[in-house]
Subunit: 174 residues, 2 copies
DNA sequence: GTCGAAATAATCATACGTGACTATACACGT
DNA sequence: ACGTGTATAGTCACGTATGATTATTTCGAC
């Protein structure tokens, strides 16, 4: 998890030098669908990256506004970025996709309630699918699009599985 | 994340009162495919649950062995369990399935390497799929089986997506 | 001109998760 | 009887992530 967050921050700095607020704004506004990293976390990651020599800090003053720390990726940081990127793409640690533990104990609920809750979940998945398909394409085959398509594919799969499972539970109850 | 872990521990205590070591052993040996929670984490969760009045502790001494803390779920704990269970089944917070951030930046690699890394990932997914299909069935339609089937479905979907994407990248490169 | 809301830019206290470590008891070979 | 590996049962120090908070500036409404 940590590595993915560092990768995200380094990736944004690969595009251009930025200050903390800018990074957070970008994540909030454009990547809300992709990362749930919080402001304070981004700042602490920037600090860590700086201590590791992966980014450099310079201070900027604009008008009367408070000082800002501008972060710039270093050559060492670019190497680190590629390292993390390769690891991220090539690995599949994939333990427990969130929400899976609950299924283990579903027998503690009666069939009717289980079905109702699964339907609720399916609706939420569907709603989320809707949000994602509204995200505009960035261009042909950019990584960002790939990433979005990946999420859509997984969510669609989740939705299908829920539909099948609900059917099964309904049948069994009879 | 925290909630899912609490749910897991409470769920195990719903089946029977247990001491910490027993819980950890069970998770390690039987749920390695389902949860990556570590020993120390389980102990700290038990402590928290105890402080919240969701489990009670009693001390047991068996022969000359060191004392053991036996944890028993309380009525309040059972309510909490159901609460967490319902929430877990009905929600779909699903932000960033691990490994997705990497795709965003895949353009920083050349096509050939990207394909190679995706193939590596696919192999790992496939290997993991193999492991999961070896897990013995617990019985007909128990939650545990449902949970495993869910993971298999998602992994299969991931594998298919990777295969499609690799094809696409190959085509594009030409 | 002034008052409150929103934007800007961050820090801090706190809780959570985990690798490393501690410590005892038993089994087994030699 | 002695070492030594493994099972038992847990604690602790440390790093990470985040909600809450701080502090200043700009802007629009009145």
């Amino acid at each position: 998890m940590t590595d993915e967050r560092e990768l995200l921050v380094l990736g944004l700095l690969m595009a251009q030098s930025q200050h903390g607020y800018q990074i957070n704004e970008f994540i909030e506004k454009n990547l809300g669908q992709v990362s749930d990293m919080k402001k304070a976390t981004a700042y602490s990651i920037l600090k860590r990256l700086n201590q590791g020599g992966f980014v450099e800090v310079s201070v900027e003053q604009e008008g009367n506004r408070p000082q800002r720390q501008i972060y710039t990726i270093t050559p060492s940081g670019e190497r680190r970025f590629l390292e993390l990127l390769r690891a991220s793409i090539a690995t599949a640690d994939n333990v427990t996709p969130a929400g899976n533990i609950g299924f283990m104990f579903i027998d503690h609920l009666n069939g009717q309630e289980a079905v109702k809750l699964l339907e609720e979940k399916m609706q939420k998945v569907d709603h989320f699918l809707g949000m994602l398909s509204l995200v505009p394409q960035h261009g042909h085959g950019t990584g960002v699009d790939l990433s979005i398509k990946h999420r859509i594919a997984l969510l669609q799969c989740e939705k299908d599985w829920l539909a099948r499972t609900i059917q099964e539970l309904r049948t069994r109850k009879t």
